[in-house]
Symmetry: C2
DNA sequence: CTGTATCCTGCCGGATACTG
DNA sequence: CAGTATCCGGCAGGATACAG
């Protein structure tokens, strides 16, 4: 048991091995979190319909605050999923568009979201079943 | 200005309309968050390879704590995505398996994760470009 | 309109210890 | 092995005000 394979450290030196998100040190983890995060997923999905301005996104993603939307868009732009183009002037006008990579990811996201939405009745049923079952077992004091 | 169309409230009365996750009050939001969340997505993906025991999941999803794994599994079980079967005895033996719905969702998730991992080089390049650009513009005081 | 800055709170989630 | 219980620090993120 001198080697359990959990600590491979040759992460530099031209290693083109596949990124493994299951490794806690993998750089793909942050990106996956931006993509799948509470707001990132909805923001990307909203933009999949085409170019939108800041407040248009804000209106589509119900409940997001200015601050969080700003953060989210910046993270996505930094990861190369969203393109931001600002033409200076008055009033300010800033467009957000998905990059090609962003579109590919958003497509998967939409697929996932669509599935979840369609199966919500089943989910709600499962929840009720779970709750009643658990309530029956744990008689609360 | 008496009506801007943002508040439609006919959400009861036999409405079988699609759940809309963009609405902040939609019950699909929590479920989507369980699915796409930091740990939920990895847990579902880990289970897509087949039945696993608690600590087997734990080992696969590098970095997750017992507490969080427990929470995550319970949330997914409640939503009907994971099935938990415990045969009593000593030592305890508990199996976690994806339900059919869980498998469908995990498949989408794996697809998404695979894409993200494959495009990580592009993401890292974009990040470098973004960082250098921003650093050049914001001379910090 | 498009954001940044600031304050503040809740809860996420890590560490640890313990039970069956 | 499979969890639950408890403590607690950090930060996500909401509200608000303000700047360009």
């Amino acid at each position: 048991m001198h080697s359990d394979g959990t600590t491979e450290e040759h992460t530099e030196a031209g290693s083109e091995r596949a990124f493994n998100v299951f490794d806690r040190a993998c750089p793909s983890r942050p990106t996956l979190e931006h993509v799948t995060g509470k707001w990132g997923s909805l923001t990307l999905s909203a933009l999949s319909s085409g170019t939108l301005r800041f407040n248009e996104v804000r209106r589509r993603v119900d409940g997001i605050s200015e601050k969080i939307l700003s953060q989210t868009l910046r993270a996505l732009e930094r990861d190369g999923l969203v393109h931001r183009s600002a033409q200076p002037g008055n009033p300010p006008w800033v467009d957000y568009t998905l990059t090609e990579l962003g579109e590919a990811i958003a497509a998967r996201l939409l697929d996932l979201i669509d599935l979840v939405q369609r199966q919500m009745p089943e989910v709600l049923t499962a929840r009720n079943r779970y709750d009643t079952t658990q309530d029956a077992q744990s008689h609360r004091p």
